[in-house]
Amino acid sequence: MSLGEGLRMAWRALAANRMRAGLTMLGIIIGVAAVIALITAGQAATSSVTSSVQALGSNLISVTPVRSAGVILYPEDARWLLEVVPQIRADAPLVEASVTASYETVSWSTTLIGTTPAALAIEGRKLAAGRFLDAQDLRLDRSVAVLGQTVAQNLFPGRNPLGQTVSVNGTEFTVVGVLQSVGGAFGANADNVIIVPISAAEWVAGTTELTGIEAEARSAAIAPLAVAQITAVLNHRFATTNAAAVISQDQILSTLSTVTATLTLMLGGIAGISLLVGGIGIMNIMLVTVSERTREIGLRKAMGASRRAILSQFLIESALLSLAGGAIGVVVGIALSLLLTHLLGAGGVSLSAVLLALGFSLLVGIVFGIWPAANASRLDPVQALYHS
């Protein structure tokens, strides 16, 4: 019996039981569509995280002192670091504190960041209105503030915040600028900030200890060297082996990529489980089919069908069921992916996901079809023929 003959036979058997075939395929359809759509979602997450990290500035190096190792940095250490590490072209000290900002009757929980004018360029941020901190603000100890988009929108809905006075934990600041939005990833919202001169932040936070220093390497190529140099000078100065966590943009990116790749794999895996469940559904229905068609199997054997012919007939039937489900699932999955891509603004249909899902569905049909088909092929011709 040829494959074409087998396919024709299987098609007829499935067409004779459309409702059942359709419901059985549903398991595979959902599985395949889920694999494709979730992989797209994972890839969309990857690309949006990557692009938002890249938006933070291309040669950014972040230095976080390890307090448990007794390392405490002060604002003047940022100037010192710039002098002793030739690979960096600029740096900015950071003092961060959780605060409540209020304007008139509206209050808003946000993060206060005290820094220097250099931070704007280092982080690659852009202003939406007004100006950023300048050297005069620091020198004259001015109480000025630059608001992130989230803060601006919540404290001044539909109004111009420039020139207004916001109260941050009781200290008043005049708003001189508003930052453009950069979006955020993993809950860290770079738009929910108030940036003030570092000296002013010290009053609010009540300490001059730095949360960290942000530095800018002279080039992307030199960034790893800058990381090594910063690590070395800090370790030397504090006579320890882990004075600070020094991480370059590249490292953050590769860490995040690993995380999101794992996420994508996990999502695909979860969807894969539903494919497996669909396969069990196929096995179940094929077992039912075989027992319902016992007489037909007996007749075919009486007509000279070998075990092999019966085995392949039912195997082709389950594979066709699964592959047809897979094909419909691909169409549904691509439609879902396009919808997700539209909603998330990133993603796109992954060809490898489509092929993987289709291949896996065929495999599922064959693997879960083997047992019922083997049962059919092993039937005794006499018992099958006189089965009632």
């Binding site: 040829s2 007829r12 037909e296 070998s306 075990r307 092999r308 011709p381 006499v382």
Partner: protein, 245 residues
């Protein structure tokens, strides 16, 4: 005349746990080419078991079965499947047509397992259908045909592969007397055409169409004798009563 079928001391014992049933206990006979033989017996006489063995659906537990001179009693499953496919044509009481296939496709079934190409299959199947007088009903599904027509499709299916032996199991059992006569007429015609036929039945009137009757009882041959020429039915004539109970 050569023997198409020759069985020697054929036995079949069924074992279910500790219980042993000897369904066929040492049956011997031969059927020559072109013969038309009836195997008769009441239920429990072993005639169905014997027929299953003659049709290579079942293997004897003892004795020999020569089909066209070759002992097939100890053949494996695949060899038996091949023999059923090429050398035996089955006709069942309940026709056993596949409802999803039309008449032509049903007749093609054994040819599919013979590996013939579609064109050749169509040709042979159409010929067989014409031979049973259904040349014009090739595209009808079984449920669109009368019982007699369905049985004729089944006969065409048995003929299509030009087997050595036609094996019919109560072929008129499900038919009214008129359709039964048609089927028996067809058998007589095939017999005149030189086909070898074995009909298993418990109906005396059906058996009287054959040249010879082998009577079984309790798994053994009770009587094996030719049908008296004066009693022999040479045309489908089952009397006025229905054939099957």
């Amino acid at each position: 005349m050569t023997d198409v079928v020759r069985v020697e001391d054929l036995r079949r014992t069924f074992r279910t746990g500790a219980i042993e049933v000897q369904a066929v206990r040492g049956v011997s006979f031969a059927v020559t080419e072109g013969a038309m033989v009836a195997i008769m017996g009441p239920s429990g006489s072993g005639k169905t078991t014997l027929m299953n063995m003659l049709g290579c659906l079942d293997r004897p537990t003892g004795g020999h079965y020569f089909l066209g001179g070759e002992d097939v009693a100890r053949k494996g499953d695949d060899a038996l499947a091949r023999i059923r496919n090429r050398r035996i044509g089955f006709i069942f009481q309940s026709y056993n047509l596949l409802p999803a296939l039309n008449a032509l496709e049903n007749v093609e079934l054994p040819l599919v397992y013979r590996g013939l190409a579609a064109g050749e299959r169509h040709l042979l199947a159409a010929q067989a259908l014409s031979e049973v007088g259904l040349g014009r009903l090739t595209s009808f599904r079984p449920y669109e045909l009368s019982g007699g027509q369905q049985q004729r499709v089944a006969i065409a299916r048995a003929l299509a592969g030009t087997p050595d032996l036609l094996l019919a199991d109560e072929p008129t059992g499900n038919l009214d007397s008129a359709s039964g006569e048609e089927v028996l007429d067809l058998f007589l015609e095939l017999h005149r055409g030189g086909r070898t036929l074995i009909i298993v039945t418990h109906d005396e009137q059906v058996a009287l169409h054959c040249e010879r009757i082998i009577r079984l009882r309790d798994g053994e041959v009770l009587l094996d004798q030719p049908v008296d020429a004066r009693q022999r039915r040479t045309k489908g004539d089952l009397g006025s009563r229905a054939v099957a109970p």
